[in-house]
């Protein structure tokens, strides 16, 4: 049976494929049928078809059910998902008749037609099914009203809106503030006051870098009363690599990234990290967004001036490769169609804010996107295959491409390979030596046991003649043999592993055009075994301002698609991009459905502002950093997140931005912040997250194995627990203990494409912050840094004037520092009291510890209590 077909449709018993072997449709092409036969058709058949069948099986049908059209002759001959509906002159082979008789399939579904009508159909088929109707081209595609579709706001050109006037001209710091204030004015709302400087600094540091400010940075900013103080901070943050690390992770949520190819079998995606590192660099260097788009769609096709640039371009196209690819799927046609679908979905979601993938099986239900739009893009992707089946077994692999190297890189790599070869040779020599010794031991052993020894040539070998104490010697020999066995057992996998990974050639999962780029047919109901009309490669017409450019022969068309996506005339790309930036900085987008700008999505809260930002974005060379800089230096971004009762009544969701939204930190920022605060964070320059060089992490390293090679994260690198979260390997089967935090705090499942994370609050998170080792260890490191610093803190505090008066100078000092490090602002009087009381209470509770240990424990508990608090877990 056809598994794919059943996936698509289960409501039809049309699946019997009874006719599969019948004569091929159209084989029996009649010359013009006699007039009386046509009359029979017109009087007896056509009216029935029109009345009872066209609703679901004609060009005008909302959905053409079962892929079958009965509104033209070829439609009936070709049939639907289950094959031909009629076979002229062969009633018994005509599914249509069987359906009318309500045998297997029942059509019309609700009521069987009168027997006389069914008899008419029998007669008609027996005469050869004369039928003058022809299909309109293109077949089975309904015409979409593009002009009507373009009326939707998101498909209209981006307009450089005039900056509105506002009453309070002193309030705006940036033109964008005027758009916000104008809306507030109109509603009679007043924005809340600015956040204090500490709050703003913590906010902007976490938003831009995912890390909190250090005590030194806090003090510098607190003291800087120049008008440029804010800009100085923002520029410092934007220039840091941490900015790239933070924003690359946001983008990864739109790619389905993981270090595993699919969900099955734990097949490692050993080159995926290069794409992640590419992203970090791209954000760090502020790669113009239009270029960023082009590289990810068609980097492999772009010209390059250097090996590095070429390597970068190739790696960028990994956007279309990473993702949940079910490479163990045995049906390769289905694998290809499904993978293309995830690629189309990704392009639609990430760049266009459109659910293009809805048009895989039928025209989009709500948006002006039709099957040809989907298959226009799908044709480009089908022209650039991204997986290949391995010659044995059932599985496939993602295509990888060798990356060009600079001469230095080449030399370094060859050195690596030479070293590796040496190591491998040493291992083999060791194995041979052990085998040799084992042979000797065994021969001596068998001699003791009195059985003849067979040599490699099968003949009995001469028995050595020495005489020793047989018993003692036997025990020693047995022991030695077991030792050798043990060593050989270990060596086998090591050699296998070294042989498997002997090449050190840098590779990336990169796209490339296939040998025969071509337009593809629509897959009826998404089924690759039911090809329909071939559609030209192209893109979403409703968002196009011109005809799609011709695709040169021999090319996939991805380059043209990339240009189209990154064109200043594209109404979606810039809007979707700036809205994503806004959402990361304010918690909600101006269009709250950040991944969906379609007709059923949300409309922008500030449409003119959205266009204003999009225009500035493009005007500034698609610089994301420029735009982010403007936004975070605006008044709107500077507002406090405190509630205001009257504004709350009018606008409880803060759609008008009368205050800043509060956000719970995402999993990455939470963990990174813990490491930063505890002083344990270790910088990283990226590289593989998987530890493939450890033998025990790898399985199935057999060149022609039944199952693909696989990976289990048994032995992580020592540094792993201290590097930023973006560098941790992402597994698809989420059982790895290194990754519990992410699964508890709304990490996007790597099979998902989603530009905005949920922010759930569930009790398992409370258990996590209370009891998980991650929090406990960071608290310990933080506490140790205070307790073991005789001066009371790692840095000299200026603002350490004791105002509690109940604790010692050293405790006060420590608390000052602790608050600055954990909450990024000075401790308040009441907080100092609370902390001091807590320490005193603990002092009474802890009875069994030695004084020194007691001191450590008290501070550990205090630190843990602070790290578990909402002041730390949220950003305001």
């Amino acid at each position: 049976m056809n598994r794919t077909r059943e996936m698509q449709v289960t409501c039809l018993a049309w699946l019997c494929v009874l006719c599969a072997a019948a004569s091929s449709p159209g084989a029996e092409e009649p010359t013009s049928p006699p007039q009386e036969q046509l009359n029979f058709f017109e009087s007896k058949i056509r009216p029935v078809l029109v009345e009872h069948c066209y609703e679901c099986h004609a060009a005008g049908s909302k959905i053409v059910q079962g892929g079958l059209r009965v509104d033209h002759r070829d439609g009936l001959l070709k049939g639907g998902d289950s094959g031909a509906a009629i076979v002229p002159k062969q009633s018994e082979k005509s599914l249509l008749l069987s359906a009318l008789r309500h045998e297997d399939l029942k059509m019309p579904p609700k009521r069987k037609l009168p027997d006389t009508v069914i008899k008419d159909f029998e007669t008609w088929i027996a005469m050869g099914a004369p039928d003058p109707r022809t299909a309109h081209e293109p077949k089975s595609l309904r015409t979409m009203d593009l002009a009507e579709g373009r009326k939707h706001w998101a498909f209209q050109p981006v307009v450089d809106a005039a900056v509105p006037d506002v009453k309070d001209a002193a309030w705006p710091l940036d033109p964008l503030d005027r758009f916000v204030l104008a809306r507030l004015d109109a509603k009679g709302l007043k924005p809340v006051a600015d956040a204090d400087r500490y709050t703003w600094l913590r906010r902007v540091s976490l938003d831009l870098t995912g890390l909190p400010p250090t005590p030194a940075e806090i003090e510098a900013f607190a003291k800087d009363d120049s008008p440029l103080a804010f800009a100085t901070v923002v520029d410092r943050l934007l220039e840091s690599r941490a900015f790239g690390e933070r924003w690359a992770r946001h983008w990864l949520d739109l790619t389905g990234y993981a270090d595993m190819m699919g969900t099955s079998n734990n097949v490692y995606a050993e080159h995926a990290w290069r794409y992640r590192d590419y992203l970090i660099e791209a954000f760090h260097k502020d790669k113009p967004f239009d270029r960023f788009v082009r590289e990810q769609i068609a980097g492999d096709l772009l010209a390059a001036n250097s090996p590095q640039e070429k390597a970068e371009n190739l790696t960028a196209s990994g956007f279309l490769m990473v993702g949940d690819v079910e490479i163990v799927e045995p049906d390769k046609a289905k694998l290809e169609a499904d993978h293309i679908d995830t690629q189309v979905a990704k392009i639609g979601t990430a760049f266009l804010g459109m659910t293009l993938h809805c048009a895989r099986c039928h025209d989009h239900k709500f948006d002006p996107i039709a099957l040809p739009d989907y298959y226009g893009i799908a044709g480009m992707l089908r022209s650039s295959p991204s997986t290949h089946k391995i010659p044995f077994g059932v599985w496939s692999l993602l295509n990888s491409t060798e990356l060009p190297e600079t001469p230095e890189q080449l030399t370094a790599r060859q050195k690596l390979e030479a070293d590796h070869a040496e190591k491998l040779a040493a291992l083999k020599a060791e194995r041979d030596r052990l085998r040799e010794e084992k042979k000797t031991v065994e021969s001596r052993l068998s001699l003791r046991e009195g059985s003849p020894v067979r040599g490699t040539n099968g003949k009995e070998e001469a028995v050595p003649t020495e005489v020793i104490d047989p018993q003692a010697d036997k025990a020693a020999l047995t022991k030695r043999r077991d030792e050798l066995d043990e060593q050989l057992k270990k060596l086998g996998p090591q050699i296998q592993h070294a042989e498997f990974f002997s090449s050190k050639v840098p590779k990336a999962f990169a796209m490339r055009d296939g040998p025969q780029p071509a337009d593809m047919p629509i897959y009826i109901r998404g089924n690759p075994y039911a090809p329909g009309a071939v559609v030209p490669r192209g893109t979403m017409r409703v968002a196009s301002w011109d005809k799609f450019p011709p695709i040169p022969a021999g090319q996939s068309g991805r380059l043209q698609l990339a240009d189209w996506l990154a064109d200043r005339g594209n109404p979606l790309t810039p809007r979707v991009a700036v809205n994503r930036l806004w959402q990361k900085l304010f918690g909600e987008g101006l269009v709250r459905s950040v991944d969906y700008f379609g007709t059923r999505g949300e409309t922008p809260s500030h449409p003119e502002l959205l266009d204003h930002l999009a225009t500035r974005f493009m005007r500034n060379g698609w610089s994301q950093k420029q735009l982010i800089r403007s936004i975070v230096l605006s008044r709107t971004y500077r507002l406090s997140s405190t509630n205001d009762a009257s504004a709350m009544k009018v606008d409880p969701d803060n759609r008008l931005l009368w205050r800043m939204n509060r956000m719970r930190l995402d999993a990455e920022a939470l963990r990174d912040q813990l490491l930063a605060v505890s002083g344990e964070l270790v910088p990283s320059n990226g590289g593989p997250g998987l530890v493939l060089e450890e033998v025990e992490n790898c399985g199935g390293l057999v060149r022609e194995g039944v199952n693909p090679p696989n990976y289990t994260h048994r032995k992580p690198r020592a540094s792993e627990q201290f590097v930023r979260t973006i560098y941790l390997p992402v597994m698809r089967t989420n059982t790895a203990t290194h990754d519990r935090l992410r699964s508890f705090f709304d990490f996007v499942n790597p099979a998902q494409i989603a530009g905005q994370r949920s922010q759930t609050v569930v009790p398992t998170q409370a258990l996590f912050v209370m009891n998980n080792d991650l929090f406990r260890r960071r608290a310990k490191a933080l506490a140790d840094s205070f307790v073991f610093q005789p001066t009371g803190g790692p840095a000299k505090a200026e603002s350490s004037a004791p105002d509690g008066g109940t604790t010692s100078q050293s405790t006060d000092n420590r608390l000052d520092q602790l608050w600055l490090r954990v909450f990024n602002r000075p401790i308040t009087h009441s907080e100092r009291t609370a902390a001091s009381e807590f320490l005193a209470e603990l002092d009474a509770t802890i009875t069994e510890q030695q004084p020194a240990e007691k001191e450590t424990l008290k501070w550990l508990e205090l630190c843990h209590g602070l790290l578990a608090s909402n002041k730390f877990i949220f950003r305001f």
Partner: protein, 490 residues
């Protein structure tokens, strides 16, 4: 600011944004009110109460679309794909040709490994008529055989994907690749919980996050994964162990955190998320003691333990404990309890391995049915037993050299067996038939979507009307498919 917990605990608080017929609900937004509902679990002293847990208390009970036959579901998931050809159906055609080559029904694009010879593999043990109904069940499952008249055997099950991960996703969520809510989450979303102190969805020994995930549904509908600890090292729920030297110290630390949190909320003039965090911390603190009590079966009678096959050293101990816990949870009002029993993936030596799995699971499963029945719970509890797919009637031998009796079987989604019991299905009914091989369904096909539709129907939910709006589209558990299998309804 909404802080009155009484305002959020009662049925009236069911947020209108979650209305069943698909009002728009924003994907990421968990409203303040939901948040509070999430947090406002009961404060009773029962052990069960406090497992209150991990996924929090989903909104109040909703009105079903029509009168339900079942109020709750226990899903026994046989991960790996049990062999229906050894357990529930024997084909004469195959039995007659045991060890002999047969014609492959596979389409040529589909590759399998180790099945190239296409040798028929007969059932490993007799499959005989049982009970008054004469339902056929293997000698390997004597306990299940004794309750044959209570179960409805579906022999025309049908799924779409032959890979474990994809098929498991489909079984739980209806789709293979996309991340969608699990059926337990849908049911929680549709019906809420019967018991405000309990989660509505618990998954014991869950096989991966996506099987209990809530997808785009609010997180409160996510299943709570639970492990039945067989030793002191295993925690029933992660992070349950206090790391401070004593509970008193931990309590003081939590109080400090609470004080800081409360002060912050005051400064900000209220915040629903943060209120939720405070309550959750209290809850989490109690869970440390109540959860181990919940999974502690030392107070159960010897008769109960015997019924489920619980006892140290017994092969059925682990699953027996899981099934007994499932009964306790279900009895207390958990809408959807899943128990996963894995190890059914017998690519090789099915004859050697299958009996072991049957020993581990048969008595617990049958014990559960008997226990539910004797407590009068079976009538409104729907029990479902299934793997993600079945196995082939032809043999598989990855080594290429093993004798036929050491062969296993490859995955087969085209047809397999599952059964339902209680909750409005016909006991003793055998429904569905496959072809002479036991490969294609020829009668009574029940696709996963149909199974989901039927399950929802029994719970009083019209599967076409249980929707959630996401990126502009109303999503369903059954996508655009599924029809209720009326023939099996009692």
């Amino acid at each position: 600011m909404l802080t009155d917990s009484s305002a959020v605990a009662g049925p009236a608080s069911s947020p209108s944004s979650l209305a069943i017929d698909g009002q728009t609900v924003r994907r990421t937004g968990v409203t303040r009110r939901q948040m509070l509902q999430g947090a406002a679990c009961g404060f009773g002293g029962l052990a069960l109460v406090d497992i209150v847990h991990a996924a929090t208390n989903p909104a109040a009970t909703r009105v079903p679309h029509f009168s339900p036959k079942a109020k709750r579901v226990i899903f026994l998931f046989m991960a790996g794909g049990p062999s229906q050809h050894d357990l529930f159906q024997e084909k004469k055609f195959i039995a007659d040709r045991h060890g002999q080559p047969i014609d492959s029904p596979l389409r040529k694009e589909v590759t399998q490994v180790g099945t190239e010879k296409f040798l028929a593999l007969g059932a490993m043990a007799p499959i005989r008529p049982r009970g008054d109904s004469g339902m056929k069940i293997s000698d390997l499952m004597p306990h299940l055989s004794s309750v044959a008249d209570d179960i409805c055997l579906l022999r025309g099950m049908n799924a779409d994907n032959p890979q474990h991960a994809s098929a498991t996703n489909q079984f739980h969520t209806g789709v293979f690749t996309e991340v969608r809510p699990s059926m337990g989450a849908w049911i929680s979303y549709g019906l809420g919980t019967e018991n405000h102190n309990l989660p509505s969805f618990v998954s014991i020994h869950a096989p991966g996050v996506r099987t209990y995930g809530s997808g785009f549904l609010p997180a409160e509908h996510q299943g709570t994964p639970l492990t039945v600890p067989l030793n002191d090292k295993t925690l029933p729920i992660e992070n349950l162990r206090n790391l401070s030297p004593t509970d008193a110290i931990q309590r003081q630390r939590i109080d400090l955190t609470k004080r800081l949190n409360q002060r912050l909320i005051d400064e900000l003039h209220g915040d629903g998320n943060m209120e939720g965090m405070i309550q959750n911390m209290e809850l989490a603190f109690r869970m440390q003691t109540t959860t181990p009590q919940l999974v502690d079966l030392s107070q159960e009678t010897p008769a109960t333990l015997e019924l489920y096959g619980i006892g140290s050293g017994k092969a059925s101990d682990k699953h027996g404990r899981a099934c007994l816990l499932a009964r306790k949870l279900s009895e207390s009002g958990v809408r959807f309890v899943q128990v996963t029993m894995d190890g059914w993936d017998h690519h090789g030596d099915v004859r050697g391995n299958l009996p072991k799995l049957c020993q581990q699971t048969d008595q617990p499963v049958a014990g559960l049915l008997k226990d539910l029945k004797q407590r009068g719970l079976l009538d409104d509890t729907l029990v479902l037993w299934s793997g993600e797919f079945g196995r082939t009637p032809w043999s598989q031998d990855l080594s290429g050299t093993a004798p036929i009796d050491k062969h296993g079987r490859e995955h087969q989604p085209e047809s397999f067996c599952a059964w339902m019991a209680g909750g409005g299905v016909k006991g003793g009914l055998t429904y569905g038939e496959t072809d002479h091989l036991g490969y294609s369904v020829i009668e009574g096909k029940v696709h996963i979507h149909d199974l989901h539709a039927t399950m929802l129907h029994l719970l009083g939910i019209d599967h076409t009307r249980l929707t959630f709006n996401q990126v502009g589209r109303d999503f369903r558990l059954t996508d655009v498919h599924g029809s209720v299998v009326k023939e099996i309804l009692a």
